[in-house]
């Protein structure tokens, strides 16, 4: 069911796992020179000679297609692609929390549901739904955002920089794309443990322009890492639209250049995302190779709370995605059609969610900030003598100038 691109060519063939593997092996093994053959013997490529001059067109294939399962009204198009989900209380409860990253919820939940809880996640920052799906409690989200004493990150980072050791979610870092080559290294280590695990690495189409993205793609392909690159192509990197970010056919088109299997999916179709991730996961583990999933979606919210996106895009454009092609509406249509969800459910669920969230806000706000000593820990595994002196000097200083520091807001 995957369209597969192999080697440097642009052939798109439906291939079985075994066929793909042997082809990839053929493409990846260093050849021995055989001068008797009228074939190029350059070690860097396997190809034929041609005697007419022709540049390869940038878009050899006319647009990589977008895989979907549901249409915009939530109707399953091909029943064989229906992942056959069934509602449970649990699922409904989970869905209620993955809504901070407006318009991109389908990419989070669809991919998270296709993974095993032991799979290691490297995120960018707009993937709260993945962590929610894994069961990260609302109170811990809030604790992180408020940098209070319950924050697992000890109050050191800006809001939305979550992390959880228990849930195999590596702590978010602001510098973009740094997680991409790290994910390759992690996948390599995991492969050697042979424990049926993969790594998934999320990033935006903007971050994909960083040098680190190139490094991560190339390393994972050459070092055969069981890794799913999950690109959220949401149309913008802050104000920069995709046509100023790249001129190729999106991010999926880069896969063949790295010798990597790639697919483009409708990110607003939670089932399409689920199917693609599940299959990529299965094969990444079985075949030890990276997969690239480009999920097409739209960032309905502003980039951040300090952004006003009306400065660079029209309200009409945003409204289209909000009203006409929203991942949650699509799933709701699907569920309503099966009698799993109703207007009443919706109303009471909204009311309940609002209450739950407000209460969590208030709890988090009331909570004290972490102990000030935590300023100095974790720089190294142990407090160095120098840091220890700095800590003491701060303590002495605060003793003397207490009234100028908000000490009552921090845990003692």
């Amino acid at each position: 069911m995957f369209s597969v691109s192999i080697g440097r060519g642009v052939a798109r063939l439906p291939l079985s796992a075994n066929e793909t593997r042997s082809l990839l092996q053929a493409a990846t093994q260093q050849k021995t020179v055989d001068s008797s053959l009228e074939k190029p013997q350059f070690p860097g490529a396997s190809a034929e000679f041609v005697d007419h001059l022709e540049f390869i067109q940038p878009n050899v294939i006319s647009g990589i297609p977008v895989y979907r399962v549901m249409d915009r009204q939530g109707k399953i198009i091909d029943p064989s692609q229906d992942p056959q989900v069934h509602p449970s209380q649990d699922d409904v409860g989970r869905i209620s929390f993955y809504m901070t990253n407006y318009g991109e919820e389908g990419t989070h939940i669809g991919s998270a549901a296709a993974l095993e809880p032991t799979d290691l996640v490297f995120g960018q920052y707009r993937e709260a739904g993945v962590l929610m799906y894994r069961g990260f409690p609302l109170d811990l989200f809030m604790a992180q955002c408020y940098a209070n004493a319950d924050d697992l990150g000890k109050g050191r980072q800006m809001p939305v920089h979550y992390g959880s050791k228990d849930l195999n979610f590596v702590t978010i870092s602001s510098p973009l794309a740094t997680q991409i080559p790290q994910a390759a290294g992690a996948a390599y280590a995991i492969k050697r443990e042979n424990m049926n695990r993969v790594v998934i690495c999320y990033f935006g189409e903007g971050a994909a322009s960083e040098g680190d993205a190139h490094a991560g793609f190339n390393f994972s392909a050459t070092l055969e890492c069981p890794l799913i690159f999950f690109c959220r192509n949401n149309g913008y990197a802050i104000s920069t639209p995709t046509n100023e970010q790249y001129r190729g056919d999106g991010i999926a088109a880069r896969g063949p250049g790295y010798g990597m299997l790639s697919i483009r999916v409708d990110g607003n179709d939670v089932f399409a995302v689920y199917n693609a991730t599940k299959e990529a996961r299965r094969r990444a583990v079985a075949e030890n190779q990276p997969f690239l999933i480009e999920a097409m979606t739209y960032r309905i919210g502003h980039h951040s709370t300090s952004d006003d996106s009306s400065a660079y895009r029209s309200v009409d454009e945003v409204n289209y995605w909000d009203k006409q092609d929203h991942p949650i509406s699509r799933l709701r249509h699907y569920m309503t059609a099966r009698g799993w969800w109703s207007e009443d459910d919706e109303r009471s669920w909204r009311k309940q969610s609002r209450k739950t969230v407000m209460e969590a806000f208030e709890r988090a706000e009331r909570r004290l900030k972490p102990n000030v000593e935590l300023l100095f820990t974790d720089v190294y595994d142990e407090l160095t003598p120098g840091l220890s002196r700095q800590r003491e000097s701060l303590a002495r200083h605060m003793q003397q100038y207490k009234e100028h520091y908000p000490l009552d807001l921090y845990e003692k």
Partner: protein, 392 residues
């Protein structure tokens, strides 16, 4: 569901000092980031009270450069760039989100005024931005590159340190990229945490071949930026982002330059020399008044302005007079630029020193979010250091 999502986002908007990673259109990352709802708790209010760690001291209105206009720091930057685009047809301005005005609004209106080929977005790649700028400069253009935050300059470290800084030297002066200026928002803002607060000047100060400049306010920013652009060496111009909106002065509308590598004595004094740059200049000005009032100690305040190559003459002369030196910066103390100043002054003024040179700087930790009020070298830490120097 959708409404609930919107609610949640609104809730977050009003309750948290969230900026996301890298703010967007209308951010100042100053007060605007710490948006508080009217019903916020007293605890949060207290937090905000503690956020302003300095008082901006405006420069006197300059008279020598013609008519002035009220501008904040980001407007004075825009104005300098406007002057450059108008007078230099080779000048181009580029970086992430620059086209719509930049996340700190420094390039607002310039694309409309001068065209898409002169003010443009690049793909999201700092090594690309600087490499592109070096190439453009080497080929004869005036290249003004923006790195969205100083904290994100490191992917371009190689291009700056190995390329920009060494272009002229390694080619025997056949080629240079002196027409390159890299601008970047810099320093703490109250809640920027690890990656929206850094002051990385010391990394680059270890790198002969580039110049590093940091202004203290709008008038200085315009004159120094134009000096960097005109200078025939690659320059890094760090802009204290907490001052973008908070600092307002009367700024000359015409083009003018303020000389690089010249420190400025802002206040004369006889007992202690205080040296800083950028935002910290304003902290030290206040400290000087506190020292006068509470201790009867007379401080000389120096704004270093150019970090590399720095004006050791002005600093040493002052220390010869006062016999005491305090240097303060937000970056970690170990290997910070204060260490360089301190060792030079120790070499040059050993016999004049009445007390050990004092460095009041950031601790040797990453820049911490919720602990920022304790991390920064605030006025009380500086004041205390003066007391100790006097009693030495």
């Amino acid at each position: 569901m959708a409404a609930a999502a919107r609610f949640f986002i609104r809730g977050a908007n009003s309750k948290l000092s969230v900026s996301g990673i890298g703010p967007g259109a209308h951010s100042s990352l100053g007060a605007a980031l710490l948006k508080l709802s009217p019903n916020c708790s007293s605890r949060l209010k207290a937090q905000r009270r503690h956020a302003a760690h300095f008082t901006f001291h405006p420069d006197p209105v300059p008279t020598q450069y013609g008519p002035t206009q009220k501008m904040n720091l980001f407007q004075s930057i825009t104005n300098a760039l406007d002057n450059t685009l108008a007078s230099d047809p080779t000048a181009v301005i580029f970086g992430e989100d620059v086209a719509f005005g930049g996340v700190f609004r420094c390039t607002v209106g310039l694309r409309d005024k001068y065209g898409k080929d002169r003010v443009f977005n690049t793909p999201l790649c700092e090594q690309g931005i600087v490499g592109f700028g070096i190439g453009a400069a080497a080929a004869g253009a005036t290249a003004i590159a923006e790195i969205q935050f100083a904290d994100y300059i490191y992917p371009a470290f190689d291009q700056i340190v190995n390329e920009a800084a060494k272009y002229r030297y390694r080619s025997g002066n056949l080629y240079d990229c002196g027409n390159l200026t890299i601008r970047s928002p810099w320093g703490c803002v109250g809640h920027g945490s690890l990656y929206h607060s850094q002051s990385p000047e010391a990394f680059f100060a270890h790198c002969p071949g580039i110049k590093i400049v940091i202004p203290r306010g709008p008038v200085q920013a315009k004159g120094l930026l134009l000096a960097c652009i005109a200078d025939r060496n690659p320059c890094i111009f760090f802009e204290p982002k907490i001052l973008y909106r908070a600092a307002v002065e009367q700024v000359p509308v015409e083009s003018y330059t303020i000389p690089l590598s010249q420190a400025e004595i802002l206040k004369e004094g006889s007992d202690v020399t205080l040296v800083a740059w950028g935002t910290q200049v304003h902290v030290l000005r206040e400290v000087a008044s506190m020292a006068q009032e509470k201790l009867g100690v007379s401080c000389e305040v120096i704004d270093l302005k150019t970090i590399l190559p720095w004006d050791n003459e002005t600093v040493c002369k002052s220390v010869v007079k006062t016999g005491r030196l305090l240097i303060s910066h937000e970056a970690p103390v170990t290997g910070g630029f204060a260490a360089e100043i301190s060792s030079t002054v120790q070499e040059e003024c050993f016999l004049n020193l009445e007390a050990p040179i004092s460095r009041v700087c950031g601790y040797d930790t990453p820049f911490p979010h919720i602990f920022e009020p304790f991390y920064i070298p605030d006025k009380w830490k500086c004041f205390d250091a003066i007391k100790r120097m006097i009693n030495y």
